[in-house]
């Protein structure tokens, strides 16, 4: 009779083995999806340039890559094609327009023509107004941006912590032993 504990361990190892194979397969697929993201083009070149800059301001590169490094603008662009309804697309375009309008009202010029610091000031003030007000267009935008960053591989594993298969439940741990938010 094999020891049931041992057979369980073998079984667990077999399952994990299978997990690894499947993860490999999934990663290959994800690579293809990445290509889709790169090729999808919902936003015009000018809109995309604004989107890039806004994403970069909201989640900049620090000691870890930011939204640009994690491919968030390409993700948002692809989501406009693969996920968003016409109404949601309108909201996202409106965010770019609203930021543009604010740039004109404070700097009398295009958002992209402002200095980097002026751009940061515009987006910071816009974010505050929208998040403290109804923010009908901006809230879904910011939510998707954060999802695109914190559930990207970079956001989840470099900026935060993520374990695909934790294998344990530790009900009480000092925060210092974990260090960062779980993605």
């Amino acid at each position: 009779m094999p020891d049931p504990g041992e057979s369980r361990e073998l079984h667990r190892r077999a399952l994990l083995q299978r997990a690894i194979i499947l993860v490999g397969g999934a990663a290959a697929l994800a690579g293809l999806e990445g290509c889709d993201f790169a090729h999808a083009q919902f936003f015009s070149a000018n809109q995309r340039a604004k989107l890039d800059r806004i994403c970069d301001i909201i989640i900049p590169a620090t000691d870890t890559p930011g939204a640009l490094g994690a491919g968030v603008p390409a993700f948002i662009d692809a989501m406009m094609t693969h996920w968003a309804s016409r109404e949601t697309r309108r909201r996202f375009v409106s965010v770019l327009d609203e930021v543009e309008a604010r740039a004109h009202s404070v700097g009398k010029t295009d958002f992209l023509a402002l200095t980097p610091q002026q751009q940061i000031d515009v987006v910071t003030a816009y974010d505050r107004d929208q998040m403290l007000g109804p923010g009908q267009n901006y809230r879904p935008f910011k939510n998707l941006l954060l999802l695109g960053y914190y559930h990207s591989q970079i956001g989840a594993t470099q900026e935060l912590h993520y374990e695909l298969v934790p294998g344990h439940w530790i009900a009480d741990a000092p925060l210092s032993s974990i260090g960062r938010t779980w993605a």
Binding site: P4, R8, H11, R12, L15, R18, A19, L22, A26, A30, E33, I58, I59, P60, T62, G66, F75, M79, H82, W83, A84, S85, R86, I120, T124, D127, R128, M131, L132, R139, N143, L146, G148, Y150, H151, S152, Q153, A156, E159, L160, Y162, E163, L164, V165, P166, G167, H168, W169, I170, A171, D172, A173, P174, L175, S176, I178, R180, T181, W182, A183
Partner: protein, 565 residues
């Protein structure tokens, strides 16, 4: 005869009926209306968050077009899209202003792949309720009749939980409980000190925290704390028909499964008074065909089973088979869910957790424990909930950009306690499903009309549950307490605990099934899904559906052995 037994439905109840019948040596056919699903292979539980299609978000236009009802369910993502019906393919009718959200999936394993896994026994508080307060008909069983079968299904399914000695929530054959986190423990202590009679326990859930040899032999592994259950679990760590009962049935050599076969009606022989088989419609070709057997088990879910019974019309049963009582389709119940309350907990800022525990706490019913009369309401409610620290998603509703935002979200936020009430809904004959006179689905089966509302007592329970949740959160010293009174609870259907449409009872004139889930009017016809329930209690019902299925299947096998069937 093609088979000894036919089981219609392959989910929570059907899997159990099939397992028990097969293990008793009966050649058993399981009929599933949806597609085949291969355990493991067809799950997306190994995908990283960034590998999921649209990071899990279902396309908005597709939801609006094909899933206007299913999209309301919290568990619906691109990772499990195939486990939900397209509403556009499976319509039903509700009266103007009285919506019913019928959340479901048609595939092998049914909703056992998608359930929330909380597993609670009933007690005589529940089995005697109808008799005591006069709502519904008296249950033909008591806890003592069901206890050995609860033991039986718990041992096999694997229920993790703590032994608590709570009379109205009997202890069972438990695997080790998962652990409450620090804030939940503090909440437990606070509630139990401030509100004598109330208890907070770890949810009893169908997860293998420590697999037994029997579970191991079925290829089931230990819970990995991924919280991907709604994608299906390749480890087989939570109980489903695909991880547990159907493989057990299969290894007897007595099981045959047909998928894409929609249960149309049960055929009846007036000469013998017996059911002779089941007519099905092929989901793909739309051709009809018939399977015959000595006994028939309907396990197609409360509403699905009612549809089949009502559609089984003959000269002998003009309003549907086994419906002399006119109770088929009536007394539809759900649990009133979405009674939401939450609050922010002060302190514990240096504490966190690791792993993703796929379950939360439970506060069992504490009101009306003596079925006392003359109070403002009868029956009761329980709560499920959990404490967690806010994660990065809080950035989506807080102002802030740039390095400040990034740094802030790098550290978990405040502890939040959230809880949701589950209240018992009384059986009322007017809450019912019927067949539409003329409209049919694309397979020629009459469309269902579902007419279900909350009643007076139900509303009183809801109001009390909000008050109680608020006082418990206040006693805990929570701030930013949010009570969902203004939006109200989720509407009928959202509990996904449909029950009651072919109730058990002692009197054939007022009930459809006897105490063995056997149709009063047709002795070889059994119904063991939620349809059989004579009342709803407030506990999650799946464990009881499993128990009744196993118990009835063994009784049917006994009767066949004795030559009575």
């Amino acid at each position: 005869m093609d088979f000894d037994a036919i089981v219609v439905g392959s989910g929570m109840s059907g899997g159990w009926a099939a397992k028990e019948l097969c293990e008793r040596g009966l050649k058993t056919l399981v009929i599933e209306r949806g597609a085949h699903v291969t355990h493991g292979e067809d799950y997306l539980d190994y995908k990283e968050p960034w590998e999921l299609e649209n990071f899990g978000k279902m396309p908005e236009d597709e939801l609006a077009r094909d899933y206007p009802i299913q999209k309301e369910c919290y568990a619906f993502t691109t990772a499990n899209k195939r486990f939900w019906v397209k509403d556009s393919d499976h319509p039903y009718i509700t009266p103007e202003g009285r919506p019913f959200h019928w959340l479901r999936g048609y595939h092998l394993g049914g909703r056992s792949l998608l359930w929330a896994r909380h597993s609670y026994r009933w007690s005589d508080l529940d089995y005697e309720a109808n008799l005591r307060d006069g709502h519904g008909v008296d249950w033909p069983v008591r806890y003592a009749d069901t206890k050995p079968w609860y033991d039986h299904v718990e041992r096999f399914a694997g229920i993790s939980g703590s032994r608590e000695g709570i009379p109205n929530l009997p202890d069972g054959e438990f695997l080790p409980a998962m652990e409450l986190n620090v804030v939940e423990k503090a909440f437990k202590q606070n509630i139990e000190m401030r509100f004598p009679g109330r208890k907070l326990i770890m949810g009893r859930v169908a997860h293998l925290t420590q697999p037994t040899e029997e579970q191991d032999a079925l290829g089931r592994g230990q819970c990995q704390y991924r919280d991907f259950c709604y994608r299906g679990c390749s480890f087989g760590a939570y109980f489903s028909a695909l991880s547990a009962t159907l493989p057990a049935a299969e290894r007897t050599g007595n099981l045959t499964i047909v998928t894409d076969a929609i249960g149309h009606s049960v055929l009846h022989d007036p000469a013998t008074g017996r059911a002779i088989g089941v007519r099905v419609i092929d989901a793909n070709t739309k051709q009809g065909r018939t399977y015959t057997a000595r006994i028939v088990f309907l396990c197609a879910s409360a509403i699905g089973t009612a549809q089949i019974l009502l559609n089984s019309q003959s000269e002998h049963f003009p309003t549907g088979i086994a419906n002399r009582s006119d109770q088929v389709g009536r007394n539809l119940m759900d649990h009133i869910s979405g009674i939401r309350a939450s609050g922010t907990v002060q302190g514990f800022e240096d504490r966190y957790y690791a792993g993703r525990r796929p379950a939360g706490f439970y506060i069992p019913r504490y009101r009306n424990l003596n079925n006392e009369q003359g109070g403002p309401f009868v029956r009761g409610f329980g709560f499920q909930g959990g404490a967690s620290r806010e994660d990065w998603a809080r950035g989506g509703w807080q102002p802030g950009v740039g390095e400040e935002l990034k740094t802030r979200l790098r550290t978990p936020g405040k502890w939040t306690l959230s809880m949701g009430g589950f209240a018992e809904m009384l059986p009322r004959p007017d809450n019912r499903v019927t067949l539409h006179r003329t409209r049919k689905d694309k397979w020629g089966i009459p469309l269902l009309v579902i007419d279900c509302t909350y009643g007076d007592n139900d509303h009183k329970l809801i109001a009390q549950a909000y008050d109680d949740a608020e006082e418990m959160l206040k006693a805990m010293g929570c701030t930013d307490i949010r009570i969902g009174r203004a939006e109200g609870p989720a509407g009928p259907g959202f509990g996904i605990h449909e029950a009651g449409t072919a109730r058990m009872g002692r009197d054939p004139a007022t009930s459809v099934l006897n105490g063995w889930n056997q149709a009063h009017d047709v002795p070889n016809l059994f119904v063991t899904d939620g349809a059989c329930m004579a009342s709803g209690a407030c506990q999650n019902p799946s464990l009881s559906y499993m128990m009744f299925s196993a118990r009835a299947a063994n009784h049917a096998a006994d009767l066949m052995q004795q030559g009575a069937l």
